[in-house]
């Protein structure tokens, strides 16, 4: 077995395919790879945003004052695309309130705050010795209950992506290839690299679980850029150890953004995910290595997702390295362990320099999608000079990995021509930032695309609401008309009934009361006459009165 391995490495190296565009920014990965993954210390307080994944926010199921154990579920998924959240350490829930969260908006959102008791007591865990005995649907459910989301940075709930092979067959989307993304092409970030170096067995075990769920018919590929030789060696060794011959590590020359899901699929299989489609449309499921390791923890050990590996790097950190951080740890706490110098830090970024966003507040917590904290100095990441006019050089179009026309998109975004933007496939933009990176006029192109995407979505939502309002308005008009008609019908019916009654009465009563109107008139006349008579007698009295009046006056 061990003898066969070198052969598979050298001769049967699977083919890789070229992709369009891409850039080669300085890697800056060596700073944080020299030290092993370190366990971050337990913070005094953990802040867990209810919305730290793609989709609907989770619903808190604990109350203020509750004691929680490490690994206990504290918030449930709400709706189909959502994720469970678990207590990362034992302690007491001190608040459920809006706190600053790591988000590009810098806004606050609801969070569960846990004051840790320092004991780190686990709740009872139920691991599974042999996952192959369990049906795929049960495994997917366990992954869902463990709150696993994509750890590559997207934060999409993993269970939603892992429809079991039976469901896929019924959807006519048979999966033939499972791709594990260990590319990590963005500068500075080394979390996946270190994970692959140190926990390759975990990753391979996780992949076997996914293979059992998805049952890919042809291949399982791990895509790793060739700038991570240690990680590739570790994975090869773990594959040999686990005797998992159906898993292949594919290495390829790196560029940014080869780690994008669609880009990696194209590099490894030559297949292009259709515009607006999903990898499943071309028979592929793609998962990040960190996610796969979390799947191993969830199924084999029964541990929910409560920690992740985060790179803490940048020149403002004295000891840049990777930490295994509890989700919810304030980033100030994590940065302090890497020797963070706040005065030197010019920009603090969550994520990488290409796709990350700037943080203004160091009290925000680490969330499931936090793969990197980059504390950069001015020299390292100089603030961009003011944008200048587009000179139509076309470098952005050459750099675009999605083969879009960034320059055209820029013009139409400025003039808010949404239809044109959609025609030019704005929604295929992965917001990688390659176009902004190469732009000689330093135009913040991606911001234009993000703003336009948001505007288009909002416009569509408004159109949808307008349609709904119109339907309700028309329904109301119809209801009012119907009610009016019913009233008229009732009135007519009453009239008819009265007439019928009258006719019956006339037939029965003969000639005494021929016409009720005449009868009523006669009655009214009689009444009037009586009244007049009464008035006359009263008038007679009043004429008599004045005779007494003068006497009163005289008195």
């Amino acid at each position: 077995m061990n003898q066969r391995l070198p052969n598979t490495l050298s001769n049967n190296m699977p083919k890789t395919y070229p992709t369009p565009g891409g850039v080669h920014p300085p890697q800056n990965k060596a700073q944080s790879t020299s030290r092993p993954i370190q366990q971050a210390s337990l913070p005094a307080e953990l802040v867990l945003p209810l919305s730290q994944h793609a989709g609907a926010p989770a619903k808190a199921i604990v109350a203020v004052g509750d004691k929680v154990l490490k690994g206990q579920c504290i918030a449930q998924a709400k709706g189909s695309i959502s994720a469970y959240i678990h207590a990362p350490s034992s302690g007491e829930v001190t608040a459920i309130e809006p706190r600053a969260i790591p988000h590009a908006s810098g806004m606050q959102d609801n969070c569960i705050v846990i004051k840790t008791d320092g004991e780190d007591n686990w709740c009872p865990l139920q691991g599974c010795e042999d996952f192959s005995q369990l049906p795929a649907s049960e495994l997917v459910e366990q992954i869902r209950l463990a709150g696993i989301t994509g750890l590559g940075g997207g934060g999409f709930p993993t269970a939603v992506k892992l429809i079991s092979s039976d469901t896929q067959a019924s959807l006519n989307k048979a999966i033939d290839t499972l791709i594990i993304n260990g590319t990590e092409c963005e500068p500075y970030i080394t979390a996946d690299d270190l994970l692959m170096r140190e926990r390759a067995q975990q990753i391979i075990s996780g992949i076997q679980i996914l293979q059992h769920i998805i049952k890919p018919s042809t291949a399982t590929l791990i895509g790793v850029e060739n700038n991570k030789p240690e990680a590739i060696a570790a994975l090869e060794a773990a594959i040999a150890e686990a005797n998992a011959n159906n898993i292949t590590v594919v290495s390829f020359a790196g560029k940014y953004p080869s780690g994008g899901e669609k880009q990696l699929i194209q590099i490894l299989t030559g297949r292009e995910v259709p515009s607006g489609g999903l990898p499943a449309d071309v028979g592929i499921v793609c998962q990040n290595v960190g996610t796969v390791a979390a799947v191993h923890d969830a199924i084999v050990l029964g541990k929910p997702l409560i920690s992740r590996i985060t790179t803490v790097t940048g020149q403002a950190c004295a000891q840049p390295q990777n930490f295994e951080v509890l989700i919810g740890s304030p980033i100030a706490h994590v940065l302090a362990q890497a020797g963070f110098d706040a005065s030197a830090c010019q920009r603090l970024i969550m994520g990488g320099p290409m796709m990350g966003f700037t943080l203004t507040d160091t009290s925000v917590p680490v969330i499931k999608a936090t793969n990197c904290l980059l504390a950069a100095t001015e020299a390292e990441l100089p603030s961009p000079p003011p944008a200048q006019a587009c000179i139509r050089c076309g470098m952005c179009a050459e750099a675009c990995p999605a083969s879009l026309l960034p320059q055209q998109l820029y013009w139409y975004a400025r003039s808010k021509e949404y239809e044109k933007l959609e025609e030019l496939n704005l929604f295929d933009c992965i917001e990688c930032g390659a176009c902004s990176y190469v732009c000689p006029s330093t135009i913040p192109l991606v911001q234009y695309y993000r703003a336009s995407k948001a505007d288009i979505r909002e416009h569509k939502a408004e159109m949808h609401k307008a349609e709904q309002s119109k339907a309700r308005f028309e329904a109301r008009q119809q209801r009012l008309e119907r009610e009016e008609q019913e009233k008229a019908e009732k009135r007519a019916a009453r009239q008819a009934a009265a007439k019928a009654k009258l006719a019956a009465a006339a037939q029965a009563g003969g000639e005494q009361e021929l016409d009720p109107v005449q009868a009523a008139v006669a009655r009214a006349k009689a009444k009037k006459a009586a009244k007049a008579a009464a008035a006359e007698t009263e008038a007679g009295n009043s004429t008599a009165k004045p005779e007494t009046k003068p006497t009163d006056e005289a008195n």
Partner: protein
């Protein structure tokens, strides 16, 4: 036959044209009945672009009547809830110049939703009758409440309320609804940053 045609060229031409015009006329007549469009299709297209708030700020009793009025030549800039975007879309559809919003009918405002202060509601049902989209729930002498998702923010329920317990609250931005804004254009930014030295000098007052 040919002799006849050559003898009476005018007559044959007339006969031939009449012979042609009868079937074609019949065909056109049939098509006019068979493919008749109900109503004016342009009105539907205009109506689809209007925001359907049914607020009546345009002085027409609803979006459909305003769409009909536009089709008959009314100005396209009388819809404050739709704002610039709607005017732009209407101008595109009708191939006319987009006009600035007519201030007479109100200004474009932030999106709002009606909110009934429920402690103060006396259950008079007046707002329910005023709501054009049936977005208020309640019954006589029972507290009323607004179905916020269905409310178009048209303002029509505020006026009839005898106890003034309805507020129009602006819809707040949440983390979920927050979005990126367009950056300032290079021209604006250059103006702001005063990259040219002479721009930086304070204006000399004479």
């Amino acid at each position: 036959m040919i002799e006849l045609i050559s003898l009476h060229p005018l007559l044959t031409a007339v006969v031939a044209l009449v012979a042609l015009s009868i079937p074609f006329g019949a065909l056109l007549g049939f098509a006019a009945i068979r493919f008749k469009t109900e109503g004016n299709p342009i009105v539907d297209q205009i109506e689809d672009l209007l925001p359907q708030t049914q607020c009546g700020q345009c002085s027409y009793p609803g979006c459909r009547p305003y769409a009909e009025a536009i089709a008959n030549g009314e100005a396209i800039n009388k819809c404050p809830p739709g704002g610039e975007a709607t005017i732009h879309d209407l101008a595109n559809l009708l191939d006319v110049e987009p006009l600035p919003l007519d201030a007479e009918h109100g200004a474009q405002d932030v999106k709002k939703v009606a909110y009934i202060r429920e402690d103060e509601c006396i259950g008079c049902t007046k707002c329910i009758q005023a709501c054009p989209v049936d977005a208020i729930l309640g019954a006589a002498k029972q507290m009323h409440t607004v179905i916020a998702d269905e409310c178009t923010g048209c303002d029509l329920c505020v006026e009839p309320c005898p106890v003034d317990c309805i507020d129009m609250l602006p819809i707040a931005t949440t983390v979920q609804s927050w979005s990126w804004q367009l950056p300032p254009t290079p021209e604006e930014q250059l103006k702001r940053s005063h990259i040219i030295a002479t721009d930086r000098q304070p204006e000399v007052s004479a």
